[in-house]
Symmetry: C2
Subunit: 402 residues, 2 copies
């Protein structure tokens, strides 16, 4: 397993493009992306659990049920969410135009949107975007696509990995706010498109993706809001050749490990670029009765407004951490609680240690630090990644119309 | 039913005091309060559901199980939370000192603390505070007590009501941050002490208090953090005379209505004085399948960081409201969703109306406004009160050590 350049166009048989057609208010910023597989690919997806699902999410879930796709079209600047029947028609029209442009069927086209909620898509521009993307497709187009899906992101997010058995995986993602993914089968408006040339059928692909999403996109938050548009898609076109990957095979295990690593990398990229974020904080919870319990505790701390403002203030305020652990809804013995900030133990047996306050504060001056929490002797553990809550977050969201 | 002056000392047979003994870092600010009933009173309470319960919470829960009390002693500036066995011993010593000073038994003394977590109480000062309070008790001492329990509060909170049958109820409360009460029997560090001279046994008193708390303190949030110290106490000393109130009696119904009104008044006072708050927002949810479902939806909107920053920005960003409704975990038909901002309907049938954006924004310039959400045709409805999320909230909590 080694990292590669090239994002979604690193695997064989994938081309991508990103263009600007004026959907975004800020003139000249790219806002349409297209990722196309040369062959019909196995498809797996994970979608927001928000009941106010945007029209493109409902369409793409249906494509996923079929399990095969040729392409993913994404526009930024408009979420096509809460747009009624018009929104549904717009998705169909978009898929049809993509299908026409790349000689596929509409049912083989995934469509994603991200941006403002409740405004109908400017379809003239969207269709122009489809055409321009189709003309600009390139096997080096991943960066353009990654740029075109950005909203409040400050930088594009792309990663790629090569497995030891010759297959590759690539991904692009966006997401900086409305990030508290809760994907099912388990993630903000975050959107991630993963490509691979591995040979894998839709079923085993969906299983591997579901497990990877559970420990990556579903383990992050920027705020506590789960978007109406969260989507993770994985297309496997088999162009690397070799055996068909299936559970029980060493190659499948490595494939899933690679997929998990790719998803975690992209998820962490989102947190690092979170709205207003000045800190990247890793929360590790250990000693819980189950992974689910550990995750609940980690999420309570990672989503706590008081913990997040303390992270911003670089204040080793373990009392707020202990408080969040206490209301997480997971049973534990308060006297068993232990908390570490990096290498410094702040709390032991439910009470503060004689740690050096200045030394602890110094650890929090780092751009990235870890909080480790032990709540008992159970085998359940989980890792969660979060940001701080800063003035820039408030400024950005008091006025940005999402 | 009519409102009175006098807070906890409005009902007959109650005295109170508030003094400064240097527990708070800021010199000269009152930090010890004592409320004393002339007679042994019926006692009911509601306490935080946080598992990291502070030592005074555990002690006072035990007093509540007995159902009788003479007094409530409260210190601010230190929460006596996460303080191990020393914290437990300090509570007992405090109760004993109060008992000695007012000629009662230690088991009849409720003890509450609020302030910094994880630092042992300065017992010399606390005991001096008990003595000074006991000496200063007055039937006009409510305001001093209300001032002495403040932490980040900017003003004292006290209310009183007189019933038509001659009994009175009074209350003091504190709480401006770490406010997302989840009390059981159903509330931040919020602390409220309610007194009444009604004649009512502990059982019926507990029932009425539980129902009142459910629709008052448990319907508010400032942040999303449920404190380790939340406590609501109600002492009924019977000194108004008259019949013993019991379920089925008209007087009991009026008593409960008065208690509910008092609790809602104090709960709203907390939200209005919430940390950094520039807005008081009432969230009304209607048409849900049950009250519990309606409350869940109202809470999701009221706790959403993105909704709260939009409130601060005075941006009628109904998309974020619809998004929060969608992830609340309550089933509904998205096409049934309707949203009003004061008298302006923003969303109908799941999609935006042709409302006037400027007119809507003007409604949000008010210090107080209402968001009404209808999710179907069910009979379940709930009201929830919340603040905005402002720069002052971030500034305050990045540095205040709670």
């Amino acid at each position: 397993m080694r990292t590669l350049e090239g994002g979604v166009t690193a695997p064989k048989g994938f081309r991508a493009a990103g263009v600007a057609v004026g959907i975004k208010a800020e003139g000249g910023k790219k806002d349409c992306a297209l990722v196309v597989s040369h062959r019909l690919a196995s498809l797996a997806g994970a979608f927001t659990t928000n009941l106010m699902k945007a029209a493109p999410v409902k369409w793409t879930e249906a494509v996923c049920r079929w399990g095969k796709a040729r392409a993913v079209f994404i526009n930024s600047g408009n979420a096509n969410s809460c747009t009624g029947p018009q929104g549904e028609r717009d998705v169909v029209e978009t898929a049809q135009r993509v299908a026409q442009a790349i000689q596929a069927r509409a049912e083989e086209i995934c469509v994603c949107s991200t941006g403002v909620i409740g405004v109908s898509l400017p379809m003239g521009r969207v269709l122009a975007g489809v055409d321009a993307c189709a003309k600009g497709l390139s096997n080096r187009g991943s960066r353009d696509a990654a740029e075109a899906i950005m909203t409040t992101d400050t930088r594009p997010k792309e990663r790629a990995i090569e497995t030891s058995f010759g297959a590759s995986l690539g991904g692009i993602a966006k997401g900086a706010g409305m990030i508290a993914p809760s994907l099912a089968p388990p993630p903000a408006t975050m959107i991630a498109v993963i490509t691979t040339d591995a040979v894998v059928e839709p079923g085993p692909l969906a299983e591997a993706l579901s497990r990877a999403v559970t420990v990556s996109f579903n383990r992050i938050c920027v705020d506590n809001d789960t978007s109406t548009n969260d989507t993770v898609l994985c297309l496997a076109n088999g162009q690397a050749g070799g055996p068909t990957l299936a559970p029980g095979m060493a190659e499948y295990v490595e494939f899933e490990e690679s997929l998990t690593q790719l998803c975690q990398g992209l998820a962490k990229d989102m947190v690092e670029d979170g709205e207003g974020a000045t800190k990247f904080v890793e929360i590790v919870v250990e000693g819980a009765g189950s992974v689910a319990d550990a995750e609940k505790v980690a999420r309570a701390v990672g989503q706590s407004q008081l913990c997040k403002t303390a992270f911003f203030g670089q204040d080793p305020n373990w009392g707020r951490i202990a408080c969040a652990v206490g209301y997480a809804g997971v049973p534990f013995e308060p006297v068993a609680l232990a908390i570490w900030l990096e290498d410094i133990q702040l709390v032991s047996k439910g009470a503060p240690t004689a740690y050096d306050e200045k030394e602890a504060a110094a650890r929090m001056e780092l751009a990235q630090f870890q909080i480790r929490i032990r709540i008992g002797e159970g085998a359940g553990s989980a890792v969660f990644w979060t940001t701080d809550l800063s003035h820039d977050y408030v400024t950005l969201n008091a006025h940005y119309r999402s």
